[in-house]
């Protein structure tokens, strides 16, 4: 046996960029996160070639789950070609040979910042959410050591209190995004900065969701068919954004989450936030044959 036979040819980077020991650690942390839904598992988040806070947590999970037959979709604010989404997607395909797609139903891994697609995800798909602040208790307890004890004691009284304060001060719960949600009846998590509209999509979902915060070094998960309940008072129902009746000016589709585009005359136009979902509708209207999957919402309502 020669030394040559024992070594592999030199390459600039390992498959999937991260070295195998890093990937093994992240896999083990993911398994723990799945076993304790909503619990934040600390992990040794490594430096990757994008800046912290730009999706390094999501990227590490995606790189770890990567296989040569992976089809990856990356979304930022609902769009596939926004600055960060395209940069992350290109990096993943460059270091892992993954096929790129913007079609939700074609993707095996969907890494996202701020949105969950409108089309329903399936059991064979994994949603990776980039999380800037994994700690739902941060607004009431900035000290992480104390916050971890509060999670251990399921001590969430102060979270209820801030929701109640919003109600008293404004007559409504003002939490826009990152709405604190109870997972599997035990741990309150922040479902990343997804809007209120997207939180119900996680409840009893068919797909696995991994939420990863690279800078804060925490992984947590919502396994398939797990309850995710936004914290609400018995007499004040959870309300999603008022987008039921808005119509996309490009695709004429209504009843989904919209981007508002301020116009020079002081009015607003609306376009579908899930950009590829909009593209599919336009293609269909133009006579193309396009498969549009079942959606979580129908006419702005979830059944």
């Amino acid at each position: 046996m020669t030394l040559q036979e024992l070594t592999r040819p030199w390459t600039a980077f390992n498959y999937g960029f991260l070295d195998e020991s890093a990937k093994r650690e992240i896999r083990r942390r993911m398994l723990k996160a799945i076993a304790i839904p909503g619990y934040q598992v600390p992990y040794a988040s490594r430096e990757v070639p994008i800046a912290r806070g730009w999706g390094t947590g999501g990227l590490q999970v995606t790189l770890t789950l990567l296989k040569p037959d992976t089809v990856v979709k990356v979304i930022d604010q609902g769009s596939d070609d926004s600055v960060n989404a395209s940069s992350i997607r290109k990096f993943v395909s460059r270091v892992g040979g993954a096929a790129e797609t913007s079609d939700t139903s074609e993707a095996t891994i969907i890494q996202s910042r701020h949105r969950i697609p409108e089309e329903k995800l399936r059991e064979d798909q994994v949603l990776v959410l980039q999380v800037p602040n994994p700690e739902p208790l941060r607004p009431v307890e900035p000290d992480m050591s104390v916050a971890r004890e509060m999670h251990g004691d399921a001590d969430y009284g102060q979270l209820w209190l801030i929701l109640y304060e919003q109600l008293v001060k404004s007559g409504r719960i003002m939490q826009g995004s990152s709405y604190p949600s109870m997972v599997n009846g035990r741990h309150v998590m922040t479902p990343s900065p997804i809007p209120r509209w997207d939180v119900p999509k996680l409840n009893q979902a068919e797909h696995l969701t991994i939420l990863s915060a690279g800078r804060e070094k925490r992984i947590f998960a919502v396994p398939p068919y797990t309850s995710v309940e936004p914290l609400v008072f018995d007499d004040v129902p959870y309300r999603v954004e008022d987008h039921q009746d808005k119509t996309c000016y490009r695709s004429n589709v209504s009843g989904f989450f919209m981007n508002e585009l301020p116009q020079e005359d002081g009015s607003s136009r609306y376009e579908l936030s899930d950009s590829h979902f909009g593209i599919k509708h336009i293609q269909r209207a133009e006579g193309g044959s396009v498969e549009i999957a079942e959606t979580y919402y129908n006419n702005g309502r979830m059944e």
Binding site: D76, M144, R172, I173, E241, D242, Q283
Partner: protein, 363 residues
Amino acid sequence: MAYVATRGGERAIEQAERLFRDDLGVIDRARVDALRNGLPYLIDRVMGEASLYEPDLAALALAQAGGDLYEAVLLLRAYRTTQPRLAVAEPVTQPDLFTMRRISAAFKDIPGGQILGPTLDYSHRLLQVGVLSGRDYRPDAVEPAAVPAPATQPSLAAWQKAQALIPDHPVEAVAPDDIPDVTREPLLFPASRAHKLQSLARADTGGALALGYATMRGYGSVHPTVNELRLAEAPVRLRHPRGTIFSAGRVRVSQTEVISKATTGLELGFSATFGWNEVKVIAAATLDLASNQPNPHPASNEEFVLYHTEPVESSGFCIHFKLPHYVTFQSSLDALRRVKADRKATTTAPKMERQPKKEEAVL
């Protein structure tokens, strides 16, 4: 086709990067060498914050980032993370250091002597403007001392420990592979001493200085005195699988102990980092010392300090606010508008609304 209008960002993004790289021009070996040789303290700072000692790669990172320090540190750390940890070097103790500069502010003279070494501390900071009009600046030649300073020096703290001025820390026996490594484990609190010192070693120089300065300026209960400050080269000694120890070269290091009066005696704060960076190690040693105090000020609270002086994490998060946030903004906007609509719809004031304060009513 109509849907094209919803796409089209990717080309602009690519051109934006090209524009940045176009400004920097061709990066060749000569530029890397010029940076490496001309800016050794900058190279040291990047290597320290990246926790990777490789002057050529640090110079390359600086060249590629056009001198943006945070970008250079990120480049180097992202490269570092792909490298396996092959071995753990033997511990370096103070008497092992090949010392170029060693001063103490605690005593007029110390065993082994004060060695000023290379420093600008006592110089007049005058710009040599003649250089710009073609008169090269040639530094005066160094006059060698009649008796060269010894290459290695004893530890001052060891002398103080022998005098029973400082309690001796119990020595923990840890197998090399079990040495905690903050690049491979998450930082958890209360942090182990190893993780704390490693985090401070790779902390942002500016961040460590800001918080260390706040602590030494009075937002804390410690009054540090520099016990011993060293700029040195540390031998990197590795253990061969057969058991023999061999040298793999030397790395430039800085190291400081600051000392402060505690209730029962003296307390030491310690910091060491790759490269020569005196400001960083003095600030970091002060932060180390201050974090042991009861009820530390936020500027010297361990969790606060270690999280917020992380250069890659803090700079990355800061610049991420440039990314679009219209989804979350839309969500907040929706809540605000609904509240306004609610108020308009209710003729009488909503039950739960608080009474306006007197001064608000006047406005």
